[in-house]
């Protein structure tokens, strides 16, 4: 299945996506590939990958065609899944992390690796693996190409006006024309403190709420320590809620 996490900055996309990937990897035979399309590191921490700099080596792609209409393809004989298995960083539970790449000084410096990222992600379209994407915060290029082939878009929202407003904008952006008809757009309420939060988000965004992750001090503690929530507090209420989320998404996915 292919799942994209979107939402306002700070809503908790990376924390939820990281634990989601790890839990999915434990319960599934297929490889799980986590895609971090954000140029700021977030998913590496929440997956527990030691390095936050895990870009693909640029040599795995080659340019075809003249410079004016250049295109990049995977090097001869290499499939996208092989490239991931060979070159992508690996977390505990065997999740592979693909990172779009940091912006270092000048954007162009990271260019070749970012081409490799695009080619590999595009090549994973038909591969037999789970693709879980953590998309940049807010509504700036929220769908970033690849999410157009996600089966499920999960909008992470807190029950605050700014977070729900962002969620509603994202839901609106996701609908017209963009994603295919089979796509499902659903909401996960994060940092819930009140039983009414879920209904509040559902009413405001008009999205179906498929999970409620409570406000949990274990999440703050893990973030402050820079470690994965699932390693720091495996029995925490937040991890329990994300476990239920994985179970319900697995059932829903086509």
């Amino acid at each position: 299945m292919r799942v994209a996490f979107v939402g306002k900055g700070g809503a908790g996309k990376s924390v939820i996506a990281g634990a989601f990937c790890r839990l999915l990897a434990r319960s599934s035979d297929r490889p799980v590939v986590a895609i971090d399309s954000d140029s700021m590191p977030g998913l590496a921490f929440s997956l527990g990958v030691p390095s936050t700099d895990t870009m693909l080596p640029p040599e795995i792609v080659e340019q075809v065609g003249p410079d004016s209409e250049r295109e990049f393809v995977l090097r001869d004989g290499l499939t996208a899944l092989q490239a991931v298995e060979r070159y992508a960083a690996e977390s505990a539970d065997g999740v592979r992390l693909l990172q779009f790449g940091k912006l270092r000084g000048h954007v162009r410096a990271a260019g070749p690796s970012q081409q490799a990222f695009r080619v590999v992600v595009d090549g994973l379209r038909g591969a037999d693996c789970h693709l879980i994407g953590d998309l940049p915060g807010g509504t700036r290029q929220p769908f970033f190409g690849w999410a157009s082939f996600a089966d499920i878009i999960i909008v992470v929202a807190e029950a605050t006006p700014s977070s729900m407003l962002a969620a509603r904008r994202l839901a609106r952006l996701a609908r017209p024309g963009g994603p295919a008809e089979h796509q499902r757009i659903v909401a996960v309420v994060n940092k819930a403190v009140d039983p009414a939060d879920s209904e509040h988000v559902a009413r405001f965004t008009k999205l179906r709420v498929v999970g409620v992750v409570p406000a949990d001090p274990a999440v703050w503690a893990a973030e402050r320590a820079g470690v994965a929530l699932i390693d720091a507090a495996p029995a925490s209420p937040a991890v329990k809620a994300i476990t239920s989320l994985v179970e319900s998404i697995v059932v829903e996915a086509p």
């Binding site: 306002k8 700070g10 807010g138 290029q141 929220p142 407003l165």
Partner: protein
């Protein structure tokens, strides 16, 4: 004086900007608050309310492709901005309406 507030998502840029803007305005300065986020929520933090924040037209959309007859920034902010508490004038720069807009 021009102040830009940047940082990671969720770290408190919008809240900090709003308090800065209102505090400066209270001390008698003329303040224009520009929301440069494509997910513009500065209006909420300034105390403008949800409907007024959602109703704002972005400056980029207001100018459109009419670069020949571009107006002054003062006239654009006067026409398309909104008055927030303490006399802060708020305007938003761009809003994304297209899911795969632009390059990363």
């Amino acid at each position: 004086m021009k102040i830009a507030v940047v940082g990671k998502g969720g770290s408190g840029k919008t809240t900090t900007s709003a308090i800065l803007a209102r505090t400066l305005a209270r001390s008698g300065r003329h303040v224009v608050a520009l929301d440069c986020d494509t997910n513009p929520n500065l209006g909420l933090s300034l105390g403008l309310g949800m409907e007024a924040t959602e109703g704002l037209i972005s400056l980029r959309d207001s100018v459109g492709d009419d670069v020949e007859h571009a107006r002054t920034w003062e006239s654009i902010v006067a026409r398309f901005g909104a008055d927030a508490p303490d006399g802060v004038r708020l305007a938003i720069v761009s809003k994304i309406e297209d899911p795969d807009f632009g390059c990363p």
